[in-house]
Symmetry: C2
Subunit: 707 residues, 2 copies
């Protein structure tokens, strides 16, 4: 038994079942029956005051009467009795509770209050609580079946390599059924229901430590605690286990349905998407993607790189697998000239490049199979191969020679990843799987799933760089609406580049400052009462430095004429800078992941194309470079349309600095906008030309905030 904090829930030595029914078809009787069918070896105690035995086991009138310790309790009693049951668990020293009972937060305020009481009991006593309103969990390594999921109606499932965590019990059961039909055995499964205590992250964390789990699949509607989730995913990665998640609720109707279903705040799907990528989670778009990538990741090995050999007996299949490879970012590196010649020496009309199409010739000469596999894994040293062999895997003539040849190669090259696209009988499919070779009927799906496994393996091999440290004891932010001058001063202290600028309060100061700043200047009015400076005539561009004094008088007169009652703090002078690309940087406090940095290209890219990308703060410079590369318009920064390349390094540094600053100031601001940040030609750095910080005390109706 592992020492994981969730062990009392997922690997208990003894289990009590409250309200266990003698009727093995009722919810309260099913779990007990499943335990017995699964051969659970620990102590198993039905709690039922009305019977001496339940399903042949000695029953106890209450938990206190159970002799010896109880690790885990299954509570299936009605909601009004659940509190009492929890209290008896505390008295007995139970450490894990699985609560099926519905009628809590999901039904409204009254239920929510009751859930809070139960949660408090769990917190106070150190009990880890799964549910309420869940379908429970199982761990087939020990036959622990604290669930009434109908999936186990067909008998216990084998203790296989996939772990699965799901926020929907019903859909989790459907996923179990889909996985089983695909031949994937789910060893550990947990549905989290209302997540009063235990969340998806806890399940991932346990499975990360479970030695027999090879990969973890999740169904997620809303993550409650982003930091906990990040920690769990990092733990899985450290232990070499891919985490594949389907996050639903991305559409408007879907989010509404998720909210009515789970009563939880669904964050922005774009932020989820960025966060899952950043954390190293493989996001599945559909249930089938989830199952197929999980299948590819539970073959006992993972592909070492994105280099793939495709071997076919049909040119058509090769073409579409090449299409799929390009779409999925998989590299079909061509064979060496020498190897291509060798292929042609076996089959003159073969396509020898990659895809390697040996045509149907192997029907006449099966030795082509052995020679090809040896060439591709041996001489050409491919880390991964997909072979398209259509119905050969089930044809009377070819099934056995193909099996022998494929599994022989898989055995000779135990560090290589070998998958087939083929149609086989279920028995033959199981034989291949036992040899570590996965089978996919659809060749496109084969490439897509193997590509998923490649991405997963890449994340495990190249863990993200550690996030930069978060400085402590930063000075507190001023309260309210922190406008341009002050905002840029604060950001400059945090390392965001700004221009040299001066706040002046009369024409004389302006004239003096002007000559120090450069030949051409920008003047901007500084007033807490004028958020929209340009509209009020409060901005002057490209002013010759020698005219700074006159320009000062002019701008103040102009603004005063239009806004006579505005308090004017002065005029900001800065050098006029030309050339470069304007970016928009923004920071929001995401309900799930905390401060999240947004990056977009200015102008139509943000306004028309919504071309933005996100990262959870803090992050380092390398991660910032990845972020920049995700913009659809990233080529603009490389110098498209005859412009010089921009100082992308300066942008990346600014992004990382901003992320560190906002992580340190977490909770102190509501939003931060740097709009625009001018990224100048390479070597010339970047500069925040305007900025705005809003703190919780500021009115939230300022439309200068970036989109």
């Amino acid at each position: 038994m592992t020492a994981h904090p969730l062990a009392p829930l997922l690997a208990p030595s003894s289990v009590a079942i409250f309200g266990a029914s003698n009727d093995p078809t009722r919810i309260s009787g099913r779990s007990l029956r499943y335990y017995r069918e699964a051969g659970y070896k620990g102590g198993l105690y039905p709690i039922n005051p009305t019977r001496d035995t339940v399903q042949g086991l000695t029953a106890y009138p209450d938990l206190a009467s159970v002799p010896g310790p109880v690790d885990c309790a299954v509570i299936a009693v009605p909601a009004n009795l659940a509190l009492e049951a929890m209290e008896s668990c505390v008295a007995k020293g139970v450490k894990g509770v699985v609560m099926f009972t519905a009628g809590f937060a999901e039904i409204g305020p009254e239920g929510r209050a009751m859930q809070e009481r139960i949660t408090q009991i769990a917190r106070d006593s150190g009990i880890r609580l799964c549910g309420p309103n869940c379908l429970g969990l199982f761990n087939m390594r020990t036959g622990h079946t604290a669930t009434f999921s109908s999936f186990l109606e067909e008998g216990p499932t084998p203790a296989g390599p996939l772990g699965m965590v799901t926020q929907s019990g019903a859909f989790g059961t459907h996923l179990l059924a889909l996985a089983a039909r695909r031949g994937i055995q789910v060893g550990v499964w947990m549905s989290t229901g209302n997540e009063a205590d235990v969340a998806v992250a806890d399940g991932i964390s346990f499975m990360a430590d479970d030695p027999e789990t090879q990969a973890i699949a999740c169904y997620v509607e809303a993550i409650k605690d982003g930091a906990l989730f990040a920690e769990a995913v990092a733990r899985a990665r450290k232990n070499g286990k891919p985490v594949i998640a389907m996050k639903v609720g991305g559409s408007a109707v879907g989010a509404a349905a998720a909210a009515s279903h789970t009563a939880s705040l669904a964050g922005s799907d774009a932020v989820y998407d960025a966060a899952l990528r950043q954390l190293g989670v493989e996001r599945a778009r559909t249930p089938e993607d989830l199952i197929e990538i999980a299948y590819a990741c539970t073959r006992g090995r993972l592909p070492a790189s994105r280099r793939l050999a495709v071997m076919t007996m049909s040119g058509g299949a090769g073409v579409l697998m090449a299409d799929a490879a390009e779409e999925e970012g998989v590299e079909l590196t061509p064979l060496s000239e020498e190897s291509q010649k060798e292929v042609l020496s076996w089959v003159p009309f073969a396509a020898p490049r990659n895809p390697v199409d040996v045509t149907a010739q192997a029907l006449n000469d099966p030795s082509i199979l052995d020679k090809s596999f040896e060439l591709l894994f041996g001489k050409e040293n491919f880390p991964a191969m997909i072979g398209f062999f259509t119905t050969w895997a089930s044809s009377p003539q070819m099934a056995e020679p193909l099996f022998k040849s494929v599994t022989g190669a898989a055995a000779r090259y135990p560090d290589r990843y070998f998958a087939l696209s083929a149609i086989a009988t279920p028995e033959m499919q199981r034989r291949y799987e036992a040899a570590g070779v996965g089978l996919f009927e659809d060749p496109w799906a084969a490439v897509a799933a193997v590509a998923g496994a490649m991405r997963c393996a890449e994340r495990i091999a190249m863990p993200p760089l550690p996030a930069p440290p978060i400085p402590k004891h930063l000075p507190p932010l001023p309260q309210g609406r922190i406008a341009e001058h002050e905002a840029k001063r604060i950001l400059a202290e945090a390392g965001i580049p700004v221009l040299d600028e001066r706040l002046v309060t009369n024409a004389g100061q302006a004239a003096a400052a002007g000559v120090e700043l450069g030949e051409r200047l920008v003047l901007k009015i500084v007033s807490p009462d004028i958020p929209h400076k340009t509209e009020m005539g409060g901005v002057m561009l490209d002013v010759p430095a020698r005219e700074a004094g006159a320009a000062y008088d002019q701008i103040v007169q102009r603004v005063t004429a239009r806004a006579p009652r505005a308090k004017i703090d002065g005029v900001l002078l800065s050098p006029m800078v030309k050339g470069g690309t304007e970016m928009i940087l923004g920071v929001q406090n995401d309900a799930v992941f905390g401060p999240v940095v947004m990056l977009g290209l200015g102008g139509i890219f943000v306004e028309v194309l919504r071309d933005v990308t996100f990262r959870i703060a803090p992050f380092g410079i390398e991660e910032a470079h990845k972020m920049i590369g995700e913009l659809r318009g990233a080529a603009i920064l490389d110098g498209a349309r005859g412009q010089p390349p921009c100082d992308i390094d300066a942008l990346a540094i600014a992004l990382s600095k901003l992320s560190v600053f906002v992580a340190a100031q977490k909770g102190q601001f509501t939003s931060i906008d740097v709009n625009p940040l001018l990224v100048r030609p390479k070597g010339q750095g970047a500069a925040a030309l305007d900025a705005l910080i809003l703190t919780p005390s500021a009115a939230a109706n300022d439309d200068e905030v970036a989109p």
Copy 2:
């Protein structure tokens, strides 16, 4: 027997098999065996000079000896004997030949020459030839099995509702196997091999007329004749039959693999994509998409609109189906308030909006099923519904009540489309299908496939407007490089709007013309030797009209100084126009589809984002509007970023006029560029500011051609 031109190939009354072997496992013996197993009722004549009987049938030494007429011949003899076999077919009056034989165009020039001879014989004699180098075809309506596809090794397939045409025999066989495993019966199947005569389009055309075919699935590597393909698809649409196609070779490696596989020119995937959409073909991305949409389209009915009711017993499934619906453009319109109240009266904790989640309550009260279906199809009048019922369809308790309720509703509402996401035994699956209800295990896949069927139904219900007529007897284009002035004159005659402009040859003319054209002018040098006017100082913008004479002298001097040997034809004067959006229009001659019009937004949209869209010429104004709407940056034209909305109608008219012009001039030009076409604010029209026409005699190295 239908009178379709392909009837001798696909529905013959008598068949002769050249080289028919007595060994039913050999290629030359298989087809004959399949005929007998499929119970073919027509005349069946093995041609085999070495035997009296073949597989129990009387054999004939040659075709001439066969008594009575022969509609179709199957030729499986070696390539060197194929020519002779063809000639005997001509002599016998055979009208259809299926040639399995390989060793023709796919092996090189010698094979290509032989293929051309055979094709010529077919053309001259009116024989329709399928192949060579193909796996043949079958039509299960009559048991006509002119194929050696291993798919029929398991016995004849039922005469089902799907037609399938494939350019790859091996992959086509794989698709047959995938379809069979999905429970789809393919009634008519054709592999086209080298397409010496019969192409994919011919197969589509035949199946369009076949009364029992409900939908047609295609696997395509390269279409040879776009017009023929368009005609066949139109025929299928007219007969109410969706055409679903997987077109492969879109990637670089895929295109190379396709080229080496089929030796055919693979056109641009973007053009294929646009053309398939324009023609009304549902393009499938993967084999699985192809199979699933074909499944959804062969249930005996199609969904009447995109309005969909989703009913579930799991909130989680509802959320993800809502996500899928949004991604697929399916409308989950909410139920009326009254109906929502009714749902809540059955199940207080239901989600009643749409998705309608009735929770697991129907386990306790199956009457909820009938009531829900009646509410959704009856009162709410949904044309289509997907019900998520997970393993209920196979559970001992629920399987029969669910089946009764679902199929009852399907029978009461025969014009509605009803699909389930559920896991059932194969037998139960077949029972649902017999009642017109399709089953999908993955709820996402269910929505995606039904969405495909919705798009197909939409195309059938709303056929494209007829293309505008192509004018005849247009004056021939001048030869060579037709530059700005002349190109715009030609395009103006075709109805493309241009600005009023004058070609002047001295300062006096310039001064006189200037005052007629407006207050501010643009001057451009006109010279066949100066393609890049701006770089040579040959463009002057925003010139006051009264200075036109002086500007004339200035521009000519400037250009002469830089290019003293350039022949100068004069200077073009036009009004300076400000405001509006610059578009790029281009026309290319696609190898498959003929003249194809490209549209893009000027600037970064084309250069950085490659945001362009295509249409086959000619097309009408409504189609042009669809084309404009496909641009990612289309919002720019609607007046994004504070600009006034542009004259989109004028743009659409210009596009359509250009398409008609290029269709009329087909073969007379190599490329046409209108770059830019300025689309002015709404009501102010559009104007081609520059244009270039290249004809076959022009050098192709002009880099003024748009990207």
